[in-house]
């Protein structure tokens, strides 16, 4: 990052306290994801039925669940998995959707047709149900959740990448590269791709929150990560039946953490866009 960009970033953050706040939260979440397992005060999988459904206390900050596991430890340890699924799916769709959109915008013609039709087809699906169906059909494993989440985001990435590429296709530097004898694929990857990268990064940060929500929603329905793995969506589902009976902490803490995480990523996405592409601030 150049010094000017850094200055711009600092300006945006100071101008916009919300982004600064989100950045702080983001650092916390990343730390939790990296260090979670070693920071957790209890074994997130160890049951203790003598201490089942205990309210929050000094010993168990977020209380304990149905079979006496420490909810704080589970929420903390789950961070890596939840953020990991979201990051992996976003990275996957960034690569696949970005490249497809790039190629569609650059080559046009039948490539554009195929990519466009594929994106149209996916858009015509009710997206969450499509994700559910993919996971149900392929089996509920983490890679399949990542894949399903990536697929439903695919059209979005294709559209952005295609639009940006079309704008730049006729730009001077592309012509220059062509005249210099570079082949199409070379021009595409070496000249055009780096130019649309910033916009795609904005797209990634904007969809990260949605990806987290989607993965947690799948787990909530029972089509996501398997028990007893700690994961926020499953933990909310497990706690849901305890809200009415007064054991609110079982669902509240994982639910609230999920909410804050998505909130943080969405705010941060806005912030990143302000830094990279101030025109698009909406």
């Amino acid at each position: 990052m150049s010094a000017a960009a850094l200055r711009h970033a600092r300006h945006v953050v100071s101008e916009n306290p919300v982004t600064g706040f989100a950045l702080g939260l983001f650092v916390l979440f990343v730390l939790a994801a990296l260090l979670g397992p070693s920071l957790a005060p209890h074994d997130p999988l160890a049951s203790n039925t003598m201490l089942a459904l205990q309210p929050p206390s000094a010993q168990h900050w977020f209380g304990t669940d149905q079979i006496g596991r420490d909810i704080f430890s589970r929420v903390l340890v789950a961070t890596r998995l939840d953020l990991g699924i979201a990051a992996a799916s976003v990275a996957l769709v960034f690569a696949a959707g970005g490249f497809a959109g790039l190629a569609a915008g650059f080559f046009g013609g039948w490539v554009d047709q195929i990519v466009g039709r594929t994106a149209d087809t996916i858009m015509a699906f009710p997206l969450f149900v499509l994700a559910m169906a993919i996971v149900a059909a392929l089996g509920n494993t983490v890679p399949n959740i990542v894949l399903a989440t990536a697929i439903i985001n695919f059209p979005l990435y294709v559209r952005v990448a295609r639009a940006e590429t079309t704008q730049r296709r006729e730009a001077g530097f592309v012509d220059a590269a062509r005249i210099a004898g570079h082949r199409d694929m070379g021009v595409l990857l070496l000249q055009v791709a780096p130019n649309i990268l910033p916009i795609m990064v904005v797209q990634m940060s904007l969809t990260m929150g949605y990806a987290i929500l989607n993965a947690a929603g799948l787990s909530f329905i029972g089509l996501g990560v398997r028990a007893p793995t700690p994961e926020w969506g499953i933990m909310v589902a497990e706690g849901a039946s305890f809200i009415v009976s007064g054991e609110w902490w079982v669902a509240l803490f994982p639910g609230a953490t999920l909410m804050v995480a998505v909130f943080c990523f969405n705010l941060l996405g806005d912030g990143v866009r302000d830094i990279v592409d101030p025109r698009r601030r909406t």
Binding site: N16, P17, V18, R117, D120, T121, M123, A124, F125, P126, L127, F128, V129, L130, M132, A133, I134, A136, A137, L138, G139, G209, L213, A216, G217, F220, I221, G222, L223, G233, V236, A237, A240, I243, V244, W248, A251, G255, L258, M259, V262, F263, N266, L267, D270, T282
Partner: protein, 335 residues
């Protein structure tokens, strides 16, 4: 007119692809329909018999062909879970989903459009930041969690909201079906008691859904207002000394609404698909909860029917938006 037909034809490949993909997905679903139908104590022979009777032993392309033929006869197959033809189920449940989604959308508009206007007029102010935080919070809520929380607080603790029993209080009977929208049907026969019951049941799920729709509407309103406010004619109006209120509400807003309307269509179609979880939490007898239950039970036909319905709605909605755009904006007609 030729343009419209052309557009319609253009959406056919996507629909066909949807049909193929859903067919494949539901065949890959791990459930075994024949085993399910045969009941808990079935012998291997009776399962095989049922498999033959349902045509599940034939090669996939053949099954696909009979599925498509049935589709053209308006036959979407049978649901195992409700035991009814899928088409009957979907037609009975679609109004429930549409009513809920529309109410959520209206609610979101009532909040989001003013928010967007304020944010645009006072760009960069505290109000602008607050608006951004509020709408971002709305889109960050896991609906399955907020739905539960709302039921707990407003029904169980405070008792302000009626029991989440679906579309009506248990003792009220549904108004005679005209549109399938209880609010309209009850109003048509002047049955205000039923109307109130239906309305009260709608509030919590509509709020849960509406929160989710705040962000796109508020953002597009803000962006579109900003664009208009910077335009020549507004500056002229300001220079002419018109009151700021008049400028914003009459001139700017009217011109800024076109992109908002376009977005609303997209948001509606998105919400209709996204409210599956809301319907599940609130026992709402709509098509979303229908599809979720079916998918969980590996019941393929309802899932296929739901996806197809949504795809057709999506295409129809896109077309409508397109037509509105053409009607409102002459430039779009040339494009």
């Amino acid at each position: 007119m030729r343009g419209v037909l052309w557009r319609l034809a253009g959406s056919l490949p996507a629909l066909a692809a949807v049909v193929v993909v859903t067919f494949i997905l539901t065949r890959v679903l791990p459930g075994d329909t024949a085993t399910y139908f045969a009941g808990p104590t079935a012998s291997a022979e009776s399962i095989a018999q049922i498999r033959t009777a349902l045509g599940l032993d034939r090669p996939l392309p053949e099954q696909f062909w009979s599925y498509v033929v049935a589709l053209f006869h308006g036959d979407l197959g049978m649901s195992l879970t409700t035991g009814q033809p899928v088409l009957v189920d979907i037609l009975a449940r679609l109004p429930a989903s549409a009513e809920l989604t529309l109410c959520g959308l209206v609610l979101a508009m009532a909040v989001a459009i003013p928010l967007g206007i304020i944010a645009a007029v006072r760009q960069g102010s505290l109000a602008d930041h607050a608006c951004r935080v509020i709408v971002t919070a709305g889109v960050s809520l896991p609906v399955f969690f907020t739905g539960l929380l709302l039921v707990y607080v407003f029904y169980f603790l405070l008792g302000w909201s009626p029991a989440p029993l679906g579309r009506l209080d248990a003792f009220a009977s549904a108004p005679p079906t005209v549109t399938g929208f209880y609010l309209i049907d009850a109003a048509l026969i002047g049955d205000w008691e039923t109307w109130r019951s239906a309305f009260a049941q709608l509030v919590l799920p509509a709020v849960t859904l509406g929160l989710f729709a705040l962000a796109p509407i508020a953002r597009i309103t803000r962006a579109s207002m900003l664009a208009v406010l910077g335009a020549e004619f507004i500056r002229t109006a300001r220079a002419a000394g018109l009151a700021s209120r008049t400028i914003i509400l009459t001139y700017a807003l009217r011109n800024a609404l076109l992109p908002v309307v376009t977005t609303l269509g997209m948001v509606f179609s998105f919400l209709l698909g996204a409210n599956v979880l809301v319907e599940k939490v609130f026992a709402w007898p709509g098509i979303g909860s229908y599809a979720v239950e079916a998918l969980i039970a590996s019941d393929g036909a309802p899932v296929q029917g739901f996806v197809l319905t949504m795809a057709i709605l999506y295409v129809a909605l896109n077309l409508t938006i397109d037509l509105i755009n053409r009607a409102l904006d002459p430039r779009a007609r040339q494009a």
